[in-house]
């Protein structure tokens, strides 16, 4: 009798233990997507700052009203994400300084990787950017050029960004320079600053910042627009080596 009870108990334990095992057969987040944000007017990738702009994606495989996720865009205008779930996504480059663009619907993203580029029209180009060193004063100059001028949001400010590594922009800068002293407060509509042809600013914007001898800086200028995201169009980055005293 005792033997039978032990046998039954043993069997029950085995079955019970086995039933605790659950096989998670759902695929991990292994799907990949990458691509570029291309400036439609030049064909080149947009000049951006690391992590400041995003592509908003919605996974529509399972829900009609999914919670959105944002993919960060790199400073060279490319993006890559290798930790998504396989599925169908809607994608929209959303919070940068470009004219609002249409959502790209039903992008299939899978393990093999999907390349999806986006073409956008920037609000402004920061052109003729130069950085001239005179002693410990670094003078930065730029002009603005607008591919489309009708209904362009108000231009808020032109600012110089300074950093001590190669990543430079509104999201990656030395805090010391992030004050009202190193900017031009514009607050004007395009028609007040554009030239006769209407697509380039007349006067250059000039900002001078103090730098330290013997240090290397990466600098650029940017223009902020009064759109939903207070977004920035940026110049290219220039490396400045300040000679030792």
């Amino acid at each position: 009798m005792k033997k039978i009870i032990y046998t039954i108990l043993g069997a029950a334990l085995l079955i019970g233990a086995a039933s605790c095992m659950k096989i998670d057969n759902f695929a991990g987040p292994e799907a990949q997507v990458s691509g570029k944000i291309i400036d439609k007017t030049t064909g080149e990738p947009m000049l951006l700052d690391h992590g400041v702009n995003h592509i908003r994606i919605w996974e529509v495989s399972y829900s009609l009203d999914p919670t959105p996720q944002d993919l960060a865009i790199k400073e060279d205008g490319t993006y890559q994400n290798t930790k998504l779930f396989s599925g169908t996504y809607n994608m929209l480059p959303r919070d940068g300084a470009w004219w609002p663009c249409d959502t790209t619907y039903n992008v299939a993203i899978g393990k093999k990787g999907t390349v999806q580029d986006f073409e956008v029209t920037p609000y402004l180009h920061v052109i003729d950017f130069s950085a001239d060193l005179s002693g410990t004063d670094l003078t930065m100059t730029c002009k603005l050029q607008a591919p489309v001028t009708d209904n362009l949001p108000q231009i808020t400010q032109v600012r110089a960004f300074v950093n001590n590594n190669m990543h430079c922009g509104p999201g990656n800068q030395m805090n010391y320079y992030n004050t009202d002293a190193y900017r031009v407060n514009v607050r004007k509509m395009w028609n007040a600053i554009g030239d006769a042809d209407g697509n380039q600013t007349v006067d250059p914007y000039v900002v001078t910042v103090p730098v330290k001898p013997g240090y290397t800086y990466w600098v650029r200028m940017g223009v902020q627009l009064n759109d939903t995201f207070n977004s920035w169009n940026l110049s290219k980055v220039i490396k400045v080596e300040v000679p030792s005293e």
């Binding site: 108000q154 010391y176 004050t179 009202d180 900017r183 407060n185 607050r187 939903t228 207070n230």
Partner: protein
């Protein structure tokens, strides 16, 4: 056996029959609708909780997180009120009126989605008519007016955060189909009009005794009307300049047509006028400084008080879950004998605020710090307006309860020849030649030929630690209870009332609404009325009369990118002077849509640092940046809070606000 069967059947019958007795009796220990809505006591009982939770931003108001102070339900599901830490995140810290630990990024902290309370008040509004017979006509309307005032107050707190919200004006039956329970957001315009309708009813039917200030009467309804409609008008006019676009904006859920501004400013103006006509007046006295401090401590019912939240003594051993006492005195006064006992000086007034008042110059025409013979010469002079002394304590002033002469000094200069601007750089690593500073208060040192000299004052400046001692050179005096027993200057010890609405605010509302209306209509009588309101405020404050510009310059375009004339700016500045540290400034800077520009580049609040110059035996003040290096930013999308994600999950009809 048969006998047993019969007995069993009979027993079953007995049990069964007695079960037919009606057991559906009114329980004696519970209050039903009839009890609650047909008597004064019942209504008072029903409203007590709703008043307690009313989103009044008082001493216990913390702008962030669960600890807003008005008994909001927190994540754990219970009420949190009277959090002593509230002053650390006090609203004025994000309007640069004060500094404290609240100086942080203001994103995503303001959420307030209070449909649980709206349901409660809707129950009353729906059930009260069933018991109309129990009331006489006039009193019934007064009670209904009170209920609608409360509902408007709750909706106002949401509309100023989210714009258009779902308007629930009936008690929803949970058995209805889900479709019907999921209500779409109304447009922002309709939301404000809904608030308007409730308040209009409350203004016309509320209690007319203006001395009954602790429950909503028709004047408190008018005061809320002024405040809410001024908000709506400002949003209609200024939201367009934020440049935010998207589906919610297109649908009218965020922002309104600028042409709607006039309508709302008119409502605000009319409400202020009604209060003015009812005979409220500013509290005055021969000693203007003393009279000004009395506004916040004395019972001024029938004079300046319009609506008052009463606080009382701390009667429970558990200092939570009641909002009826505060820790204010302990949190604004410096630490010391018969002053703050526990924490002390959690918030510090800024030079940004104090410099708006009439004060002696601290920098001369050539740019050098003005030399004072003593710190007293800064404040004990006719050059400082009495209102400024009534609102702040400066070095050398005497705290009235303890009799302590406040001693604030940051350091000494052995000699000084530099200009002020060279001594106040744009960072908090201020090191100057010939200057000796200390991290802690109350330090002395031997300095060459000068012998043993005081470096820092007994009450500050303190650089390593942000509480208990001054970090800006100025203590907050407004609302401090000058009648307090020193023993109450502990956590949860303060009992002074909160003036939710006072006539001073109404005059500022009126000035702004009238001037905005003048800009819309060109009616110069309105402009003159606005100037008169400012004149009354300034006269009571003991400030010099201001001469407004006949043809005001546009000072807004250069600074904000949209027009704003200098007279309107002056009215706004006067509002800040009059209503500072009353949890108005942080909302005003949002309503005017200027916060994202004022706090654009990590704004750094300024201080009034007292120093002694040893070689001259004189005293100076420097506007250094705040000791703790706390900076402020404001992202413009935060003018509208994100609709809570859990609500969107429950109700997919809720459209997200743009920018999120």
């Amino acid at each position: 056996m048969k006998a047993y069967k019969y007995i069993l059947v009979a027993a079953a019958l007995v049990v069964g029959a007695s079960a037919c007795n009606n057991l559906d009796l009114e329980p004696k220990g519970m209050l039903d609708d009839g009890t609650l809505f047909s008597s004064e006591f019942g209504v008072r009982k029903y409203l007590a909780g709703l008043y307690n939770d009313l989103p009044i931003e008082d001493f216990c108001y913390k702008y962030a997180s669960d600890e807003k102070g008005y008994g909001t339900m927190n994540a754990a599901g219970y009420h949190v009120g009277n959090v002593w830490q509230a002053l650390k995140g006090y609203g004025p810290t994000i309007a640069c009126e004060t500094t404290g630990r609240g100086n942080e990024d203001t994103a995503g902290q303001w959420g307030y989605w209070n449909y649980d309370r709206i349901r409660e008040i809707n129950v009353m509004i729906e059930k009260l008519p069933l018991y109309k017979d129990a009331w006489d006509e006039g009193r019934y309307n007064e009670i209904m007016a009170e209920a609608r005032f409360i509902r408007a107050y709750y909706y106002f707190a949401m509309a100023k955060r989210y714009g258009g919200v779902p308007i629930i004006d009936k008690v929803q039956d949970p058995t209805l189909p889900l479709e019907e329970l999921q209500v779409e957001r109304a447009t922002e315009y309709d939301t404000w009009k809904f608030i308007y309708a409730d308040l209009k009813f409350a203004m016309e039917n509320g209690v007319s005794d203006k001395t009954a200030v602790t429950r909503a009467n028709r004047y408190s309804a008018a005061a809320l009307m002024a405040k809410a409609m001024l908000w709506a008008g400002s949003v209609a006019k200024y939201n367009q300049y934020t440049g935010i676009t998207g589906p919610a904006t297109d649908a009218g859920l965020m922002g309104m047509d600028p042409s709607d501004a006039k309508e709302f400013f008119q409502y605000a103006y009319d409400a202020c006028k009604m209060i003015g006509d009812a005979g409220f007046s500013l509290h005055k006295g021969a000693d203007k400084e003393k009279a000004y401090t009395e506004i916040f401590i004395e019972n001024l019912a029938g004079e300046e008080d319009i609506f008052v939240k009463t606080f009382g003594t701390h009667t429970t051993t558990v200092p939570w879950n009641s909002t009826l006492y505060s820790s204010y005195d302990d949190m604004v006064l410096p630490k010391g004998t018969n002053m703050a006992q526990n924490v002390g000086a959690a918030i510090h007034a800024t030079w940004d605020l104090v410099s708006l008042y009439e004060t002696p110059a601290i920098v001369d025409a050539a740019g050098y710090p003005v030399r004072f013979n003593s710190y007293d010469d800064f404040w004990n002079t006719d050059e400082m307006e009495p209102r400024c002394r009534a609102n702040f304590f400066f070095s050398g002033m005497t705290e009235p309860v303890s009799g302590t002469k406040l001693d604030i000094q940051q350091g000494v200069f052995t000699t000084l020849s530099a200009k002020a601007e060279d001594l106040t750089p744009e960072d908090n690593n201020f090191i100057a030649e010939n200057c000796i500073k200390e991290q802690d208060p109350g330090k002395t040192q031997t300095v060459g030929a000068y012998g043993e000299v005081k470096i820092t004052g007994a009450n500050g400046i303190k650089r390593n630690g942000d509480e208990g001692y001054s970090t800006t050179g100025i203590f907050v005096r407004k609302y401090m209870n000058y009648n307090a027993d020193p023993a109450t200057r502990v956590l949860h010890g303060s009992t002074q009332n909160w003036k939710v609405f006072r006539y001073g605010e109404i005059l500022m509302d009126r000035a702004e609404a009238a001037y905005e209306l003048y800009l819309e209509t060109g009616n110069t009588a309105l402009r003159d009325d606005a100037f008169d309101c400012v004149a009354q405020i300034r006269d009571r404050a003991g400030a010099h009369a201001h001469t407004f510009a006949a043809s005001p310059a546009d000072i807004g375009t250069a600074k904000y990118g949209f027009p704003l004339d200098e007279n309107l700016q002056y009215i706004r500045d006067e509002r800040k002077r009059e209503l500072c540290i009353e949890n108005q400034g942080e909302w005003d800077q949002r309503r005017w849509r200027i916060a994202h520009i004022l706090l654009e580049a990590n704004y750094w609040p300024r201080t009034l640092m007292p120093y002694k110059v040893l070689s001259e035996d004189k005293y100076i003040f420097l506007n250094e940046v705040e000791v703790y290096g706390r900076r402020l930013t404001f992202d413009k999308r935060n003018y509208y809070e994100a609709i809570p994600g859990d609500q969107i999950n429950k109700n997919p009809k809720l459209v997200r606000n743009d920018g999120y």
